[in-house]
Structures are given as C-alpha cells and as structure tokens.
C-alpha cells in the first residue's frame, strides 16, 4: 500500500502548477513516476476517491483533486462519491 504516494500526488496537484497541468492533460503518464499498486493507480485514474479514502488516503488532500478537476473529478461528483461512504 502506498498511501503516502497518493497523498503526495494530491499535494503536488495543489502546489506544483506544472504537475497539475500535466495531470490534467495526460493523467496516466503524469502519475507514472509514483510507485503505486495496480489497484491504487486504477482508483486514482478513475477518480474513485471513496476507495482511495478507504485505503487510508487523507480526505482533506483528496479534495484538491476535485478543486483542480483532475481524474474526472469536480466538487459535485466528489461530494457524491465521498458521501456514499457510510460513517
């Protein structure tokens, strides 16, 4: 499990404008430099934030993905996906 790497990707989306635009344009290539499991890669590329959250990724950081519209996410679908998790 590489939760650290997922959190790092989220943070780089916020802080690194170059990485952000690369990820917006070619997400698969952009994240290829991070050591992720096959499953994590699949969840990220499909914008499955609920599954990433269940793996232990940080929710505050995950929301950066919606703010900057990467991996098909926006605030609206992010809200629905995350709220589908039973607490």
């Amino acid at each position: 499990m590489s939760v650290y790497q997922i959190n790092k990707i989220c943070r780089e989306i916020l802080l690194d404008l170059n990485f952000r635009s690369k990820t917006q344009n070619d997400p698969s290539k952009s994240i290829s430099v991070f050591s992720l499991t096959t499953e994590e890669r699949k969840f990220l590329l499909s914008g499955d934030v609920a599954s990433l959250y269940k793996l232990g990724a940080n929710a505050f950081l995950l929301q950066h993905l919606a703010r900057f519209n990467v991996f098909g996410l926006n605030y609206e679908n992010y809200n629905k996906k995350m709220r589908s998790i039973k607490t």
């Binding site: 959190n7 589908s84 607490t87």
Partner: protein, 276 residues
Amino acid sequence: MAEIVAAFGIPHTPSFVATVAKEGPEVPVAKLFQSIKNYLDDVKPDVIVKFDSDHWNTFFYDNWPTFAVGISNETAGPIDQTPSMPWYKVPVDESLGQHIQNVGVNNGFDLSFTKEFLIDHSILVPLHFLTPNMQIPIVPIFINTFVPPMPSANRCHDLGKMVRKAIESWPNKKRVVIMASGSLSLEVGGPRMFEGKTFGVPDPIWAERVVKYFESSNINELVKNSTTEQIAHAGNIAGEILNFIALLGVVGEKKPIFLETQPELGNAFVAWRLDK
C-alpha cells in the same frame, strides 16, 4: 520585558476572502472581523504570536513536526492559493521566535523549527482581515492538529503556559498579541461533508459546548473533554481546537470581552484583553 496585551481566537475559513471581495464590507463576516480588528488596533501590538495548523502545505508527511516555531525575518503566502487573496509578504520576528524555542527546549518542550517557510490560508485569512498592510511581524507556532497521533489537549494547554512564560521573559519592551485560529467542528473533503458543499459540521453540539467553556472560562473542562475521540467525532479538521487550547494556556482563566459564533460553519470569534 514584553507584555501580553490581548488574545484572539478566530476562524480562517478560506472562502471568507472571496465572499467579502464580492459582497463588500457590510457582509456579516466582514463586520465580525472588523470588530476583532478594532480590539486589535486598540491594544497597539508590536508583534503577533500565532498558534497555527498547517494544512499539509508548509510541512508534509516527509517531515512533520508536532510543535514547530517559524524562526525567520520574513515569510509569504498563501502557498495554497486561497481564492481572491493577493500574494503577501509578512515580516517575522526572528528574535522572539528564537527566544520561544530556547525557553521551550529548556522547559520540557523540544520545539522543532523552520528557518525558510511559506504559509497557507490558516495564518493569512486572519491577517488579510486584521492587518491587511502586513506591517506587524508574526511568530508562527505550528501545532500538529491533524495527523494522528496528535498532541493531547493537556500538552497543548501546557505549551500555551510555556509560551506565556517565554514572552514575559523576552527582554524587549514590546506589546505582544496572541492569536489562534480554526473551527470547533469541521469536516473538509470527507464523508461527513454537507450535501453539495466542500465541508460539513459533524458535531454542532460539541462546538456549542466549546463556546460555553470559552464564555465561562472553564478551561479545565474544555481540556478534559477535548479527547482524541471527541475531536475525531467533531470532524477531520476539528483538531484545530488544540490551537484554541494553547491560546487559553496563555490567557489563563480570564473571561472574553467579545464572543460571536457562526454555528453553520462551526466557527467562533473571541477576544480577550490581557493588558494591565
């Protein structure tokens, strides 16, 4: 010696900046900050010490301190690109920061430090409204309020007491203000967000209780009840209460002279006068 003249507990909700830019100074949140600003201006501070939650911007999991002091001449931000906020340069009081670290390490608080750092909305939203010219130097004291294991409420309260001792032994005739910011119950980006929003307030009853503790200056009860479980129940960002608890370690058992709330956001605006 330096004198502690006032303390302020306020929110740092990032959207306030765009709201006030759009809707003007008559909007309720602008008036709340104006009330706090009036108290701040009244006490004529020379320096502001700020208990702060970095939101994974200044620090990250590669290097994450429990307590850290920013010791520098200058910082800048918002590193997290708060909508509608300009890029600010902010003076930092290096001498007071170094003094607080020295006193801390000599009194059982092994404070980390950073000498080159940028800051996020958690410091700059309050300063944007309170010291928009950024003329007053700050000393940030970062507390890990988000990443388990967080320091206990009791430990943060003791941190505040130590900081009080440090400031009062700082051999400079300066007027010092203490600030802390955050929400009392808040979930950002997690499953307990409100529908269609980016945040939620999972435990408004806890937020209300906290406000009562402020009102009655019942710090011991606040510290006792701010358990890890209670904080987790109040939201993934509710650890910001630890900033307020550190602030109360400085304030002591004084009653606030101003207290207003925004229950829909889990927020409180509180002011204490501490000058003699």
